[in-house]
Symmetry: C2
Subunit: 462 residues, 2 copies
Amino acid sequence: MQYMPVTESMFLVAETRDQPMHVGGLQLFVPREGQTSEELAEEMAASFAAATDVAPMFLKRPATPAQFAGYTAWSFDDEIDPDYHLRRIILPRPGAVRDLLRYVSLNHGALLDRRRPMWEMHIIEGLADGRVALYTKVHHSVVDGVTALRLLQRTLSTDPADRTGTAVWDARLKRRRPPVERESKGLLASITGAASQVLDIADQVVGLAPAAAKIAVAGVTDKDYFAPMQQAPQTILNVPIGSARRFAAQDWPVERLRAVGKAQKMTLNDVVVAMCAGAMRTYLSDHDALPDESLVAVMPVSLHADGDDDGNAVTAISVRMATDLEDAGERLAAIKASTTAAKKAVRGLRPLQALALGAATIWPLAFNTVPGFVEYTPTGFNLMISNVPGPEEQLYWNGARLDGCYPVSIPMEGLAMNITVTTVSGKANFGIIGARAELPRLQRILDHLETTLTELEALPPA
Amino acid sequence: MQYMPVTESMFLVAETRDQPMHVGGLQLFVPREGQTSEELAEEMAASFAAATDVAPMFLKRPATPAQFAGYTAWSFDDEIDPDYHLRRIILPRPGAVRDLLRYVSLNHGALLDRRRPMWEMHIIEGLADGRVALYTKVHHSVVDGVTALRLLQRTLSTDPADRTGTAVWDARLKRRRPPVERESKGLLASITGAASQVLDIADQVVGLAPAAAKIAVAGVTDKDYFAPMQQAPQTILNVPIGSARRFAAQDWPVERLRAVGKAQKMTLNDVVVAMCAGAMRTYLSDHDALPDESLVAVMPVSLHADGDDDGNAVTAISVRMATDLEDAGERLAAIKASTTAAKKAVRGLRPLQALALGAATIWPLAFNTVPGFVEYTPTGFNLMISNVPGPEEQLYWNGARLDGCYPVSIPMEGLAMNITVTTVSGKANFGIIGARAELPRLQRILDHLETTLTELEALPPA
């Protein structure tokens, strides 16, 4: 038995049948020269099945799985049931990427069993383009999305000749390969966790919020700054949700985003927000659901980084997405002003204040599973957008090239969509997950992202 | 909106993440002469996709899906999302029946979304033997297992030249084909429902039980009769369960079972119980978990049938399975005495009393999701065994022969295993569903069933 801190148990407590709290990653691999997709899938399956020395993270489960219990401890199984955790499937014809995304959508809506270690790995064949996909699903109480992506990357090598590829749960990995860089606890956990530790009120994370808001708001005067506790417009993104999901994913060359950032004197994060803003404006307009006021996004940002790369999440800021502005240039300028002001406010705070600001920004999430809360409470923000930097080098699993690595995050009650971006090997991989019934035709956002990026590229330099 | 009777809403109320309350059916089809499995799957998919006139049963969902609500009404969607409800998949190599059962196991543990009509249909290819499988999953509040199997059969034809095959949800079916024979509400619903209606206490089904038990027990004196409210041994079948499932299925020629029944002067139901008793004795012994006292099974029986076929469920009896007896002949005699006594007791009752007896027999189920109930309350019975008679003729879907039709039922808290048998086209199809973590190597029961049947065949005639 191992003590379970509130920063982990809260994801078990917050979980409902309509709001599964697991994160996922979808990786695509190109078989190495002369290898068929069938051979690669078989090689993976054999290698994974041989990894019977399982790391503790993949053996742990809540000691008291029933929903009424307090989740105060983890227990550890001696072994795993490979037939349960490791799944194989072949997609139906035509094996389009769309078929793959549909498979992930349908599986991401299903709860994990709490009476066994809470993760699954799916090896997926049948893509017409010959690639093989790995879809990994881990409960957020065990690992956050950022760490999950990094763990997956640890099974990969920069050397195409390397043949030591194994499973993510292989206990030997930790010994054989360098530890995961900048191991993070993710947005919710790092913010509430760090703030709790500092203030020594681990059991009262939520109670912290009003006080924190005062600290934070008191230090803020900038008119471009969207402070926590303000009100965002009510939209179709901010409704109670069902359990079914819709997942869309696509990648863009990081170089295209960086070029826009350079021309417009913006960070990569700002460019991501601007792409999302243009895409969401079009998506909501198509559904006659664009609010008069701007959407408000919450983004994790680093307290330290000043450069192009905003680094690891240690606090969260609210950003006006300027979706009320039709002109792409005006929208871009407004977004830049909003993120700059928010980051200036954060940098002007001492660390404790910054952590408290983050907690204040996201605290309403804690109440979203309370019946009726979402319907009857003003919305503080409309969606979360995260940008998670990964390694720049090309990565391989036993010589099979990693060709895409898409985060699959968590829609919540009142936050029906989540956009997470990860930059790996020169690609910005967008993963968009939404509640299925509430957000029809979600995949069109991919086209809107491309359209917006093209618009941004056409703007005169700042 | 449509009023939802308690006999339907109780399956929504009783549902937890560890106890999904949907029933399933697994059908296997042999492509017609000259047709590949791929062609049959494509033909099914195209035909099902074309069935856009959807019967009301497949459009309804709870009007208030959240778990805290009272479930007093159904609402009806205008259309279905075919990408969600109709799923296609190809099994991984080698495409053994084992791979198919594993797919069903993994999918049967996942909850249905309550914000859309609560059913799924999976078209499954990739079996090495060339057959195509259909796995159908419907919430028990919408339809019980018996009716679900009959609905599926309604899409089939006894004429191999018939090419009017369509989807089970096709609204034209009801108009085109005869109504489902002997439409039943299943064990729990028919017993509690009928008793409730008679006594006009629809909201107090559970409160009925103690009174019912008095009525029933008062009329019973036979020493072979296992009356409700007695205590069954505690076994590994009677524990809290997780959500993961294990499904095993196999069929036997009905003729083999009938021959045993004829030789031993027993009903087909008795032979099914005897097969299960021998198999469970071996299975539990292998796990060092055979109790000293006999297992007790609950079975639906008809009030009217006297012949070989016990017909439709209208009450439930408890049967001592005589798993404490090693000798197959002695075990068979004890089972026969127990079922005969139980049925005699039922026949001696007036209809209301019989219904009340059924309610008393199964009433503890109503409490099994109460935290701690399963651990601290004596077990009234150890498992449910149902035998559902179907049509004797060979059935076809657009000329593809139905080669197996296995029920996939519901394990519950405290009842980790369920065995349901359906006889169709001369085969007795056994479907065994169990809680995955709690019942390892469940598929061995299939071998034990064959071994037991062989033993029964070798016994001297009664």
